[in-house]
Symmetry: C2
Subunit: 354 residues, 2 copies
């Protein structure tokens, strides 16, 4: 993959941009100005620079925003030897990564993730994407490529400005990695609080778990599908919330955490996952993410699951667990069984049903 992930981002960035014709910084306008100013200072020493600020969030992952970036790249004279730096969370790097991968058939990409999700997940593995507005609503990441960042720079101080729900969202992805890995890393996460001070020491290791899987399967032909744990249902919930409104938008990692709760329940039935252990894990998770005011119905969830781009020949595949660290990715859903299990699950965790 030839991609560097480093906490010494200043040094690495300086070295990477040395030969570049222009540095184009795409920054989330939600962040303190000092973050982008700091990066601009590093780059301005030797390079022509340009800053574009966009307010991050799932709503920016559209062709309209993409075209805005293309035009801005063109106006400032970005060429093939220019580099696009994304400073922000997963939505900034998903949009910016796709722009970098398609502008003049591909320019270099650097990601400086400012969220926990970014650091442990979105900035690793080269996936980018925008959403497609279809006749069944918004389809997440339907359009995208694989384009590895040359550098992913980690700076924990960027997490200082992160809202609580974003921290929990990152915790959701860390939960996924911990269940994929099992062992002491899972124990450490169980002992950690969902706050930055407590999670920061586990972030690099969490990212390493994903990086290891991706490195062995760059184009998602096999093992990489493990990373879909909790995402089949998680993406469905996220898409439905996105279709319904932008205000009640659920955070990605929270949707994934709900997907994992459901996966644990199903894994007990289908994979013989230890019931007591599943209950203990579920209690831990739900204590952190809290019950849902309203959970979507099985029909809506199923329709979205059918549209998941990982499906082949219309089969809804899912990733289940035999144990923490022991994963099965051969499972295929039957609609009837899903409906029964989902409606039971829904009643348990929906406040209005309790």
């Amino acid at each position: 993959m030839n991609s560097v992930r480093s906490t010494s981002w200043r040094k690495e960035l300086k070295s990477h941009i040395r030969e570049k014709s222009l540095v184009f910084l795409l920054a989330d306008s939600n962040l303190p100005d000092s973050y982008s100013m700091d990066i601009m200072k590093v780059c301005k020493i030797k390079n022509k620079t340009h800053l574009l600020k966009i307010k991050g969030g799932e709503q920016i992952k559209t062709h309209q925003h993409l075209i805005k970036i293309y035009n801005e790249l063109d106006v400032v004279g970005a060429d093939r030897k220019s580099v696009l730096i994304c400073l922000g969370g997963g939505t900034i790097s998903d949009l910016g990564g796709f722009a970098a991968s398609t502008y003049k058939r591909g320019i270099d990409l650097v990601i400086l993730p400012t969220t926990v999700v970014g650091m442990v997940d979105a900035a690793i593995g080269g996936k980018n994407g925008i959403n497609l507005e279809s006749n069944v609503g918004i389809l997440k990441n339907q359009i995208g490529t694989f384009h590895q960042p040359k550098l992913t720079g980690i700076d924990f101080k960027w997490l200082d400005s992160l809202p609580q729900d974003e921290i929990k969202s990152g915790w959701g992805e860390m939960l996924k990695h911990a269940l994929l890995k099992g062992g002491s890393h899972l124990e450490q996460l169980k002992n950690a609080e969902p706050n930055i001070a407590s999670l920061a020491p586990l972030i690099i290791e969490s990212g390493n778990i994903k990086e290891g899987i991706v490195r062995r399967d760059v184009k998602e032909n096999g093992e990489r599908v493990l990373l879909n744990l909790g995402h089949t249902v998680g993406h469905a919930i996220e898409s439905l919330e996105l279709d319904a409104s932008t205000e009640s938008e659920i955070k990605h990692g929270i949707a994934v955490a709900w997907g994992i709760v459901f996966t644990l329940e199903v894994s007990v039935i289908k994979m013989g996952f230890n019931d007591a252990m599943a209950k203990e894990l579920i209690k831990w998770i739900v204590d952190i993410i809290g019950y849902r005011e309203k959970m979507w119905g099985s029909k809506e969830i199923w329709l979205k699951m059918c549209k998941d781009k990982k499906n082949i020949n219309g089969n809804v595949k899912d990733v289940l667990l035999r144990n923490p660290g022991d994963v099965d990715w051969s499972f295929t859903w039957e609609r009837e069984e899903f409906t029964i299990l989902w409606e039971q699950f829904r009643k348990r965790y929906e406040l209005t049903s309790c």
Copy 2:
């Protein structure tokens, strides 16, 4: 590159689509219906198929058309194991190739080129692209990727319906390959008439010249830039015509042929190309493409050349010839010199100036 180019397209296509979940055929509506029906018949034996017809031409290389294809792929349930087949000229495969490369982060692509340009150039090498509407007009192929077709199927009978200006356009690209190669292939082309019967026997060899260069430099980091011969000026002319009107649109290969005429003149001055040989080649070329009613001015051409995506650090690079088959790609233009040489050239080949 793992890409097959074959005149036994039925056999190869059948073998390639065997395991595919769906065949999506994107066909140029300018073509006789029998062409697409023929392909649908081959695919329908074993596969779910869908046909989308779009009227080919440079004007379709837009985000609007791209989104139309994405939506159609979604509506018919295309998944990652689906294959997109492009039946048409370069504009169909540029648009369809980009759609295939970005839909669900990439699905398989088959190209069945129905033009000479497609067979010898556009369908080889994996480049695709759409145009960007910018503040200085339309920029050709600014957005795209490298996505190798799994199969390029050649059938000379598809050329039967090709209009005369399209044949000449293909001849322009064959001219480029012949000058890059030199030797007996150039002599054969000089002896051929610009019609299908005469060109067909040279098409496979012409495509091989491009394929050899591309195979050695897939991502255009070096030698592949040779293929830009005649294109620096050629693309500029084409972009200007496209900005001005869609009716007087110049064909790609004709614009390239003009770029080559200019290149030959410059090569005599800058590279010591034999003057008598250049004159003979130019006479041959201009006899075929005919004088221009109106040639664009040096200022407009320069502005477009500066926007060429092959430029680095604002330098306008160009490909020149020392001899047929002996190419230099280190040349950088100075604006002043370009202006003088272009205005001289313009006077020579513009009917209104003659």
